[in-house]
Symmetry: C2
Subunit: 216 residues, 2 copies
């Protein structure tokens, strides 16, 4: 079985690990699965061949034996369900791990994405500074709630799971803003995720792509 | 087995079906499962008893035989996996249905939520009108991509699935803005979802809560 994912040939983040292929690489590394990467140049992102794989013209996609998926949540959950290492054995605990994947993507990531909207997409607008304060306030509310739930635990629900993989990945996108510094248990939680050997390998692999010479 | 979900005692939308309990009610109706509803007054939403069920202080939650979940994506997926009616039988088609749940919640819902941010949370700000145009442009891009993928099909991947349930539910939140009118196939897709008897029962049930007298 060959697994092929897609990634940017040059990530907008310069290889700091925030592009979404890192989440999929991390899951594949936790499950000890080999994979191939097809790089998609920016110009090909909205071309028919890539839109056939992902109608929204984004990376990553995932192909394996006639199955083609997009959406990192679906890809990570697929890997987690079919290989050991990312979901607990207990049925209820499994459901809660899936719940944390959704919480990361649908409750935590939207306010994190607003940081990018205000700084990048609307960074030249006269309202940028005032909105940044509002956006940070809304994000802080969510972070405080997550911090209260995590308390002094290592992971969100017992052992490390795909839910933690996704939550740490989303929080990593907020980290450069410095907003996590006010929540020491969340900062330590993210650091625990980053310290996992599987994450380290995933990070190194995406960095290697972004520092390699582009094909002529 | 008793299923209990939570809902607003008075939804901010006045019972127009946009609160997230409607998504769970719809899934339960498609699966022909009876359920009970515990109404959570606004003042109790951030109190310890409800935060124990959902650390972000939101509705709906889902309880069944010792399992407690929040996140509508996780709840709908749980229902779909354990009861017929919401997932196709073919393994790959099942994975794609899950993919569309994530696409609805992580790719389509964030720009839809921006409509609420600009109109409600920041409706009194001097930038509201100018930002509304930007937010609508970004949402139109996503809608155009979805419209192109759906083309003239009835549902996103063959038969109706939990993926359609979630995508229709997210698009329903954009419908009052009128933005769907420019995409006749998406408007018809949403109308097909609304016409399903299970949706009709879910809508009526949430409306009944919102028009009933509050307890003294």
């Amino acid at each position: 079985m060959t697994i092929t994912i897609t990634a940017f040939d040059r990530s907008p983040d310069g290889g700091s690990g925030l592009a979404r292929d890192t989440r999929v690489r991390w899951a594949l590394e936790e499950a000890a699965l080999p994979y191939e990467v097809r790089l998609v140049p920016h110009a090909a992102m909205k071309a028919p061949a890539h839109l056939a794989l992902n109608p929204f013209g984004q990376i990553p996609t995932y192909e394996e034996d006639g199955l083609a998926l997009f959406e990192t949540g679906a890809i990570v959950l697929h890997i987690a369900r079919h290989h050991p290492g990312l979901l607990p054995g207990d049925a209820h605990a499994q459901e809660r791990a899936v719940m944390w994947i959704f919480a990361a993507l649908n409750t935590m990531e939207p306010p994190v994405l607003e940081l990018f909207t205000v700084r990048i997409l609307e960074g030249d607008k006269p309202w940028a500074a005032e909105r940044l304060a509002l956006v940070k306030d809304r994000l802080r509310t969510r972070l405080q709630q997550l911090s209260s739930r995590l308390a002094d635990a290592d992971w969100l629900d017992g052992a490390f799971s795909a839910g933690d993989l996704m939550m740490v990945s989303v929080l990593l996108r907020a980290k450069p803003s410095g907003i996590l510094d006010a929540f020491p248990n969340l900062a330590a939680y993210v650091a625990r995720g980053e310290a996992r050997p599987a994450y380290q390998r995933a990070f190194a692999a995406q960095l290697a792509v972004n520092t390699a010479p582009l094909p002529a």
